[in-house]
């Protein structure tokens, strides 16, 4: 087993991980900073897939307070208000950093100032963007800077376990699998950032990149940490439905399509959103996703089981100009977005929930920090479009600052508890001693269907209970399946087994939290509890693993800055 020491270790190379690396290096120039990623640095993950843009309160007439209110109302009042405040307060600084320090160039308006576009759910057009491919611009510039900053890279390294020291009171090391050789690597670090980006890829239709498998959340659960709001899974209404045999299915067609006037049609070609919500197709993602699933379940869907998106009434040439990237992507699948109908379906997009953390990135485990989609609390019950990339870049940078400061007071390198290390290694190696890679595809399919059908857009008590049981059953079957005894070097079957193990664990946390929430808030909707409940008595779910089982507690929300009005608006 190879060993290495690094002062600061960052798991993940998205917006959070890369910003953390740069801030940590700036704050502690003599420290060794290492970024570990499951694939290639800057290429994996979802920050670079961001199409929409970056919400920031910069324009005249806008204010941080207004952005805060939009975020908290959008989050159905479940947000941790200190985290949400930190997000909106720091975003302006971060955007200046992106432009003037890192060299991102965001679109300009005719006057040469930043162009801001409208994005659903906000009371001000504050979304800064680069065309419809903002993420690539951000990650491209971040990665270039990281490549030239003396930051170490561990590419094709998969984190297999977070290892505390013998006392169990602080994080000592991370156990990696070097995917290229299949060997273990024990990395001792004085500060570790969890920034693997969540990613609800356990649903049949999902948008995140295929290498995401909730690794960070699973690592945290196994290390005894508490996750909050896990029942809050954001579904994006317009995922491409290109058939079951292709990975293209599920990829997101940007919100701006609806924002600029696109229509959603049933299989028979009729609009239906006008019946459901006065805002029609411009309502928030959760409202639209629910309406769409109801139409599909009522038998009014397309032959493939989805619905149609129509843009042609806006003028095909205009659509082609404004949404160039998307028109091309659809064309590659044989769809004409500009002039024809595209089949769409709600698709699992983002996990609002995650590891409980403080605004500076620290968690309940000393030495472990978290930022980005792996963390929970910033967005409460529903994330505003454009707040996601703001979240990861803001809190990634803040965590980097904190980790650099942490080094000044933190003790030196610790050794991991030998028993936990051995147990982690054995657990990771076990599938290589069992036959059966052929069964993995079937397990993945059953997991996807179970989550989609029972823990999806529309939920109810019996369905959730069945999901809890079904997931436990899948976990048991996985424990009896293996990846075959092949060469561990770059063994994708082995990693698929490990992916499934993490996804099932995350799924159990999601299902248990959904069962515990007996109302309908934000992205979580239950047919047996359709009311939102008393906003003033809002509670969030907190899930952790205790003695092998999921335990969910409910914690009251502290309205530290804004209280909800007594009369909640319908539909929120």
């Amino acid at each position: 087993m190879n060993r290495l020491d690094t002062d600061i270790l960052i798991l993940g190379s998205g917006g959070a991980g890369l910003f953390a690396a740069l801030h940590a290096k700036a704050g502690a120039p003599d420290a060794s900073v290492t970024v570990a990623v499951k694939g290639l640095l800057g290429k994996s993950g979802c920050t670079r897939m961001v199409q929409g843009g970056y919400n920031v309160a910069l324009g005249p007439g806008d204010s941080v307070e207004r952005h805060f209110r939009d975020t908290v109302e959008g989050g159905a009042w479940l947000n941790d208000q200190e985290l949400a405040w930190k997000l909106v307060e720091t975003a302006p600084k971060r955007v200046r950093e992106l432009e003037n320090d890192l060299g991102c160039f965001f679109d300009r308006g005719p006057d040469g100032g930043l162009h801001r576009k409208a994005f659903a759910g906000q009371t001000f057009d504050r979304t800064v963007h680069k065309g419809d491919l903002t993420g690539i611009e951000i990650i491209g510039r971040l990665a270039e800077r990281v490549w030239s900053s003396g930051i170490r890279r561990l590419e094709d390294h998969r984190a297999a376990a977070l290892l505390p020291d013998a006392s169990g009171e602080a994080l000592a090391a991370v156990l990696f699998i070097d995917m290229r050789t299949g060997a273990f690597v024990l990395a001792r670090a004085r500060a570790v950032l969890l920034a693997t980006g969540g990613g609800p890829t356990l649903y049949r239709y999902h948008t995140p990149s295929g290498d995401k498998s909730c690794d960070g959340m699973a690592l945290a659960l196994r290390a005894g940490l508490t996750l909050r709001d896990m029942e809050m899974v954001q579904f994006h209404p317009t995922g491409l439905l290109a058939g079951p045999g292709t990975r293209m299915t599920g990829t997101v067609l940007e919100e701006g399509l609806r924002g600029s006037g696109g229509w959603l049609l049933t299989g028979a070609g009729e609009r239906f959103m006008e019946r459901t919500d006065p805002r029609a197709e411009r309502a928030t993602r959760d409202v639209i996703s629910r309406a769409m699933i109801e139409e599909i379940r009522a038998g009014r869907g397309t032959p493939n089981g989805g619905l149609y998106l129509k843009m042609s009434h806006l003028g095909p040439a205009a659509v082609r100009a404004r949404f160039k990237g998307m028109v091309e992507r659809c064309a590659d699948c044989g769809f004409d977005l500009a002039g024809g109908l595209v089949e769409v379906i709600p698709t699992a997009h983002y996990l609002m929930g995650g590891v409980v953390f403080a605004p500076d990135g620290s968690t309940a485990l000393p030495g472990l920090f978290v930022a980005g989609e792996d963390s929970g609390g910033v967005h409460g019950g529903n994330r505003l479009g454009g707040n996601g990339v703001a979240d990861s870049t803001v809190f990634g940078g803040l965590a980097g600052d904190r980790m650099a400061a942490w080094l000044r007071d933190a003790p030196g390198f610790r050794d991991p508890d030998p028993a936990r290390l051995d147990e982690a290694r054995a657990r990771a190696l076990a599938p290589l001693r069992r036959p059966g890679p052929a069964r993995l595809a079937d397990l993945r399919e059953r997991l996807s269907s179970l989550m989609w059908d029972k823990v999806g857009v529309l939920r109810d008590g019996p369905g959730l209970a069945a999901a809890v049981a079904g997931l436990a059953e899948l976990a048991g079957e996985l424990a009896e399946t293996g990846a075959g005894s092949g060469d561990p070097a770059f063994n994708l079957a082995w990693h698929e087994w490990l992916n499934l193990e993490n996804l099932i664990l995350a799924g159990r946390a999601i299902a248990a939290s959904a069962l515990a929430r007996e109302n309908s808030r934000g992205a979580h909707w239950r047919g047996d509890f359709p009311g939102a409940g008393d906003l003033a008595a809002s509670r969030t779910t907190e899930v952790s693993v205790q003695e092998g089982a999921m335990r969910v507690a409910l914690r009251p929300v502290a309205f530290t800055r804004l209280r909800p009005e007594p009369e909640p608006e319908g539909g929120r």
Partner: protein, 238 residues
């Protein structure tokens, strides 16, 4: 339809074997879907890469019928010839396994060619005022959407012949920086671009522009660098 897929397998450049798989294909899948099917059903130990699977990361790039392409956006029906598809990893990069390569050399070349923004004023509070019609900005915008997938550099005959050549991707990025008014050091960049292995090694053969899946034109960017360098030389600023 049954497609015969021939994959160059192996860990290192020198030692490789070509393995055939006969795969039933239905619907209209992409080459990435095909490779996934082979790994799942025929060869669990097949090594390949993908991430976004929608043409934003470039992880899935490989040689398809001898030409570098993104497999996630290339339909099988478009490239299959007489029922066969030939797959191999991108050339001139260390092979990790089978179709997966290590892209570190590509990014190291990019970085050492100067493909990194150097801020004029990193703590500026204002955003640079740049109108959309600004000519330099339009030049930069025409080339800025590169995702660093290495398809162009894999197709470039000069990059194949000369390991010291910066390559189309790096030069394309340097051109965007030369046109970025917020970037410090324009003169130093031109000097680098005019250096050995720089824009003057480009012979405008054009494979880069023909292969770029985003329709970018690194050939044009390299020409821009030559033009800018020549003008700077005439003005005594190189």
């Amino acid at each position: 339809m049954i497609v015969t897929v021939v994959i160059r397998r192996g860990g290192e450049r020198g030692r490789a074997e070509r393995v055939e798989f006969r795969v039933p294909v239905s619907g209209d899948p992409t080459v990435l879907d095909l490779v996934s099917t082979i790994q799942r059903d025929h060869a669990p130990d097949l090594g390949y890469r993908f991430s976004c699977r929608v043409g934003m990361c470039g992880s899935c790039a490989m040689l398809v019928q001898g030409r570098p392409r993104w497999t996630c956006r290339t339909r099988v029906s478009l490239v299959v010839r007489r029922g066969r598809i030939d797959l191999a990893p991108l050339p001139r990069l260390p092979v990790v396994k089978d179709l997966a390569v290590d892209m570190a050399p590509f990014f190291e070349t990019w970085t050492s060619a100067g493909g990194v923004f150097r801020p004029r004023d990193r703590s500026a509070q204002e955003f640079a005022r740049v109108t959309p019609g600004d000519p330099r900005r339009r030049e930069a915008d025409a080339a800025i959407e590169c995702i660093g997938c290495a398809v162009c550099t894999s197709a470039c005959a000069m990059a194949a012949a000369d390991p010291g050549y910066a390559g189309p991707a790096a030069l394309n990025r340097v051109w965007t920086l030369v046109n970025d008014e917020r970037d410090a050091d324009g003169a130093a960049r031109l000097a680098e671009a005019a250096g050995p292995g720089g824009a003057f090694s480009c012979r405008s053969h054009g494979a880069c522009a023909r292969h770029c899946p985003k329709g970018l034109d690194p050939r044009r960017s390299a020409a821009g660098l030559r033009r800018a360098a020549a003008l700077a030389a005439l003005r005594g600023r190189l």
